[in-house]
Amino acid sequence: MKIVVAVKQVPDTNAEKTFDPQTKRLNRSSIENVLNPFDEYAIEEALRCKESLGGDTTVTILTMAPQRGVDVVRKALGMGADNAALISDDAIGGSDTMSTAYLLALGLKHIGFDLVLCGTQSTDATNGIVPAAIAEHLRVPALTYAKKLQINGTAVEIQREIETGYARVVAQLPAVVSVTKGINEPRYPTLKGIMGAKKKEITMLTLADIGADVARIGDAGAKTQVESFTPVGARARGEVFVASDPKEGARKILEFLIAKKAI
């Protein structure tokens, strides 16, 4: 079984973000990037599938990033993935979410797969639509928001997180599955894993390699146009009341809620 995990590098949540006023793109080069926290669950789940399925099961990491995105890929390889592929090309800059899904789908077709695992969303854009869009490009089932995953022969079964509980969903492979936090506890790369990762193969893929139509990516291919980015000011610090008596504290909150017409 060939498992491919699609991952993304994202700016550290704590980092201050700046935007290029001309291109209206995030200045990604000046901030520290990390592996998207959601993707760690997808990598862990892939490794667990490999461990339980055994045989010739492999785990490949796929990402789309500038060349230095290799750092994030190394972490995934350090966790135990077998190899990786990086789609990298200057023309990709400015691509929107839908173009991203298009390119990842082409990369997946190029690599080949039985099961694609993704995190539910990235912490920077928080779109949460890439897994379904990839599946649509590939014309395979999308089993999203999995909090449990099981491979039964040629079928995949998940527990899909829904607002009131979960739904048990079954489809035939090949398929795309996105996993939620809580499906597992991601392992840390071990020292041995990190050392071993240096020898693992990372394939560089160009747009030509995957057969991408450049008219569908970058600024030109984006279906949306950014007019502006406006930083949100910090919320003002409100009143802090030290309640020596709990009753007084509760009363204070109630009066505040009434004054604000919140209840």
């Binding site: 639509i129 146009q225 409100g238 509760a250 009363r251």
Partner: protein, 324 residues
């Protein structure tokens, strides 16, 4: 663009509040742009939901009661919507930022070559087109976007728009069920928390964190949420400790919520939590640690013993509601 259409979610015929918000917004945008407005309801109960939508300002209500969204995941909904959008389009579709809504946006976006804007909390008609605002990077940046081509999909956060009742002028049109065979089967749906509001849809959220000390203390959070008519949220610490399911988690690796009122109990307010709730209307914090970061960005902070303050607040809220 010929129309603005809202995808409205319902629970067995009862329209969700977010559905009423989206239908009202679609009707208002249609009016402002001088184009038709519509609402789509799918699956068992769609006919009852369609009747309820007659009490909104929407022009046309598309009811697909026979579309088997209860038996197959997403695919039937996508096929039914694709057929409708091609017939009535080009148009802009508003979908809720639920799991199903995001999946539908991704799939339809690819099929129609549409632009997709997510996490929207403001949409306005300007110069005959839509201008959409959406918070990004944990709410630290507001991006303002437009669609370049004719089909557009906007994934909308709950609590962004105000629902408005209006005497029914809506015409109900039946949608045919797709004839394709589907293989992504929903084998069963397990309801663990029947009748509870979801944390990302509720207008009021009461959240508990590490300060609760254990799962048994979530009952005081739930009691306050019930008294206020809100939902129960949680910090990552509480979820990671196994005190409450992940579906309740607010923050970076949980839900992003924008309720009118957010009450954080025993939550320190680390950046990973803040990014999930900083856009709330009013933030109230109760914590015993006067140095907790949450006091830097809440509207009212009360330093004290949450085990005594929360139940007392619940009592006061009930007393007030009883008197009102």
């Amino acid at each position: 663009m010929k129309a603005v259409v809202a995808l409205v979610e319902h629970d067995a015929g009862t329209v969700r509040r977010s559905g009423l918000e989206l239908a009202t917004k679609a009707a208002d945008l249609g009016r402002d742009l001088g184009v038709a407005s519509g609402a789509v309801v799918l699956g068992p109960g769609a006919d009852a939901a369609a009747q309820a939508l007659k009490e909104t300002p929407i022009d046309t209500i598309y009811a697909g009661a026979a579309v088997p969204v209860d038996r197959f995941l997403i695919d039937p909904a996508v096929d039914a919507l694709e057929a409708l959008l091609k017939e009535r389009g080009p148009l802009t579709m508003l979908v809720p930022a639920t799991n199903a809504g995001k999946d539908i946006a991704g799939r339809i976006g690819v099929r129609l070559g549409a632009g997709v804007i997510t996490e929207a909390n403001d949409i306005a008609a300007q110069d005959g087109a839509l201008v959409v605002r959406s918070p990004k990077f944990g709410g630290s940046i507001i991006s303002t976007l437009r669609f370049k081509n004719t089909y557009g999909i906007v994934v909308c956060r709950a609590n962004s728009f105000t629902a408005r009742a209006e005497a029914g002028k809506g015409e109900v049109v039946a949608l045919a069920a797709p004839t394709a065979q589907y293989n992504t089967r929903i084998e069963e749906t397990v309801v663990q928390e029947a009748g509870k509001l979801s944390v990302d849809e509720a207008g009021i959220v009461v959240s508990g964190g590490r300060g609760l000390g254990g799962p048994e203390h979530f009952d005081i959070i739930e009691a306050l949420a019930d008294a206020l008519g809100g939902a129960v949220g949680a910090s990552r610490a509480a979820v990671d400790a196994g005190w409450i399911p992940h579906a309740h988690q607010v923050g970076q690796t949980g839900k992003t919520v924008t309720p009118q009122l957010y009450i954080a109990c025993g939550i320190s307010g680390a950046i990973q939590h803040k990014v999930g709730m900083r856009s709330a209307g009013i933030i109230v914090a109760i914590n015993k640690d006067s140095n907790a970061p949450i006091y830097e960005f809440c509207d009212l902070g009360v330093v004290g013993d949450l085990f005594q303050i929360v139940p007392e607040l619940t009592r006061l809220v009930k007393e007030r509601k009883g008197a009102a």
